[in-house]
Amino acid sequence: MLTHVIRLTARKSRELFRVRLSYQTQRYLFIYIVLGIPLLYFLSTRMLPIFYAFNVSVREWNLLSSEKPFVGFENFSTIFSDEIFSKSILNTFKFVLIGVPGQLIAGLAVALLLQSIYRFRGFFRTIYFIPYVTSIVAVSWVFRWILMRNGWLNEVLLQLGIEPQLFLQSPRQALILVTLTMIWQSIGFQMLVFMTGLEAIPRMYYEAASIDGASGWRKFVHITLPLLNPVIVFSAVIGVISYLQSFGQVLSMTNGGPLNSTTTMVLYIYNLAFQQFKMGRAAAATVVLFAIILVLTLLQLKVLNKKVEY
């Protein structure tokens, strides 16, 4: 999309310098200028800091000091020799691998269920959407209390005669529980995206399939899924990016513990930058995260974005 705009701009600007402006050109010029204003904003608030982070990543900068000596790739070698950083990368991938499929499946399931009812659809849609607009910290704390050592869930387990669990205090369970919280909170958003996608699939395909005697499952596999592909690609890309940036729930629920089992890259960056004031190293970790997001996104667009003919 962006490259398309840039390409058009480049072409237009070449035309601009060649001849006087025709009415058509003037019109386009106006449109592009209007389109360019948010682009400028984007450049100054998003792109500029990114490049600035590249710059900081090769400097040693204590946030409180005004000196920022150039140190080359020292920051990178330091963070890569830090086992917590490697662990945070691994954890981040776990968040993505559990979170994204979980969110897509849960969101799709809810969307399909909602699509097959007519009464109370708006009501349920609202109910499912509420967690998405609830504050992350509030949700995290509610789950913390549910999952507390002598909390509600352990109470239930005891009643059922099951050993109480450590939950958030267990290095094995904490990450999954935090991910589940994140999935639970994003179901509403995912559901809405899928519902819009489902609405766009023409009814006649299903009718035709029914006439041919296709079962519900086959209709789902051969009509719904392929035609939802653009929506799935969009959701997967957005989902991967957002799970790669897992932070709020982690900070509020476990603060990276126990034993760094839930430390994510963003939490690691946050701790370096704002707890230890080591901006250079934090920026280096940011650059690594940036690279990972970039590569994964490009890969996904390549792999998932197959054209569907119908």
């Binding site: 490259t3 840039i6 390409r7 480049a10 072409r11 792109m47 500029l48 490049f51 600035y52 590249f54 710059n55 900081v56 204590n62 946030l63 409180l64 000091s65 005004s66 000196e67 920022k68 913390r144 209390w145 507390m148 050592r149 002598n150 005891l158 109480p164 450590l166 958030l168 205090q169 267990s170 290095p171 513990g257 126990p258 034993l259 760094n260 701790n271 930058a273 704002f274 707890q275 230890q276 004031f277």
Partner: protein, 455 residues
């Protein structure tokens, strides 16, 4: 094809421009000082400023501390009082939430919005000093010899490279909080004064249900709260061990058997005696204040919150049990002056700092906040020593310690991790202890390497 090339060159150009822009804004760091001195907005917020006809030039300074309602309120009153005493100095208070304090300070300072006096936790001082952010307190107003004569020795944690960088109004110590009702119920008449008695009593006080789950903890056990301090400044020296070498470079926990003995003692409450566990009612103070923990090791700062939110709690305070020697963990928040404060502002800041450390303010601080006076002469007055709640905290001040921190958060995290290795991963106490010592030592080595590099 040509099109693509064009885009490529445009984006490269853009990238270069952006990087350059990034670099240039880099060098503007020194403009902080100028902005700092200009600060026109303060005068406007003080309507009385222009009414005073002082011959001398008016100075306005800014005071930063974290958001603790009682402290904010008291400082506001103190500012009014101070301004009547010094009509040509205006003080403005700014607050940030505790959780975000470091973060806010760290982001606002490079943006050129700095304080003239800043309230910092003593454990953060090395980090701030290493960054070159603070200046030593002016010697003529705060002579080192006098500080060491008047203040409790724990304040020495604010002495870095031979100079004091901060001075507190008040300090805190830890003590043993006990729930009187629960002690009566368990028929415990005498308070524990030794390590053994503490174990015995907490076993007696522990209550579990039929399924073996805690109903009441004998001793609340939360490594992420005060236990880290209890270990380093309480148990370790009590067992005859030492925390740090004289030059603050080497962790000495493992140099004597005392280190492991103290660590084992601390962990045994959870793994052997099973009288308390982390995460019970979220944390130790919650469990204690709600009556689900009979004993808890907590700070004098808790008095205020109990008074406010749990007024009906029937509790008492006793000095910490001891072993071969007495030792009590202590800590403090101290006021420091940033490096870029100079001239009239420095004079004004020094004046305000003198006021904040005066006897009157220290006394107000005890009454209103519940933190203990930092000066011996003020704290040792009968009215405080004989107070049922304050007394035990104050009598412990003489043998109190506040260990030096490289990085409070990281050191605490390492300690919590070590306890988790034992609790969750079933690593042996000895191995967890040795790993802990090695990891903390690594933290110190990195810190000193950085400091040495700057010299």
């Amino acid at each position: 094809m040509q099109n693509k090339k064009g885009i490529k060159s445009i984006t490269t150009l853009l990238a270069i421009i952006l990087v350059l822009a990034g670099c240039s804004s880099n060098s503007s760091g020194s403009s902080n000082d100028k902005k700092e001195n200009a600060k026109p907005s303060n005068a406007a917020t003080e309507p009385t400023a222009s009414e005073k006809s002082e011959p001398e030039k008016e100075v306005s300074i800014e005071y930063w501390q974290y958001e603790f309602p009682a402290k904010v309120e008291l400082i506001d009153e103190l500012i009014t009082e101070f301004q009547t005493l010094h009509p040509n100095i205006k003080v403005k208070q700014t607050n940030f939430p505790y959780d975000q304090y470091n973060q806010k300070v760290a982001t606002l300072v490079p943006a050129g919005k700095g304080p003239d006096i800043i309230n910092l936790y003593y454990g953060w001082l090395p980090k701030y000093v290493a960054a070159g952010y603070l200046q030593p307190l002016p010697q003529d107003s705060f002579p080192t010899a006098e500080i060491e004569k008047d203040y409790y020795p724990l304040v020495e944690a604010a002495k870095i490279d031979g100079s004091y960088y901060a001075i507190p109004t008040a300090v805190r110590t830890l003590a043993l909080f006990y729930n009187k009702d629960l002690l009566d119920k368990a028929q415990i008449k005498e308070l524990p004064t030794t390590w053994e008695q503490l174990v015995e009593d907490s076993i007696k006080l522990t209550e579990k249900d039929a399924k073996g789950q805690f109903v009441v903890e004998g001793l609340a056990w939360e490594p992420g709260a005060q236990l880290h301090h209890w270990y380093r400044d309480g148990l370790l020296p009590q067992a005859g061990g030492q925390d740090l070498s004289e030059d603050r470079r080497k962790i000495l926990w493992a140099d004597t058997p005392a280190g492991l003995e103290a660590f084992q003692y601390l962990l045994d409450f959870a793994i052997k005696h099973k009288v308390g566990i982390n995460g019970f009612y979220e944390n130790d103070s919650n469990a204690f204040m709600n009556g689900f923990a009979a004993l808890n090791i907590d700070g004098s700062f808790r008095l205020g919150s109990i008074k406010k939110d749990f007024a009906n709690l029937n509790f008492g305070v006793a000095p910490l049990p001891s072993y071969k020697a007495q030792s009590t963990p202590s800590s403090f928040w101290a006021n420091a002056i940033p490096k870029n404060v100079e001239g009239d502002k420095l004079k004004a800041a020094t004046e305000f700092l003198k006021f904040l450390t005066s006897k009157e303010v220290q006394e107000k601080w005890v009454d209103r906040i519940g933190e203990l006076p930092a000066q011996k002469a003020v704290a040792s007055q009968d009215k405080y020593v004989k107070d049922e709640k304050l007394g035990p905290f104050i009598t412990q001040l003489d043998h109190s310690r506040a260990h030096f921190f490289i990085d409070e958060t990281q050191e605490k995290t390492l300690f919590v991790d070590a306890t988790n290795e034992v609790l969750v991963n079933h690593v042996s106490v000895e191995k967890a202890f040795n790993d802990l010592v090695a990891k903390v030592q690594k933290l110190y080595d990195d810190y000193w390497a950085e400091v040495d590099k700057k010299k």
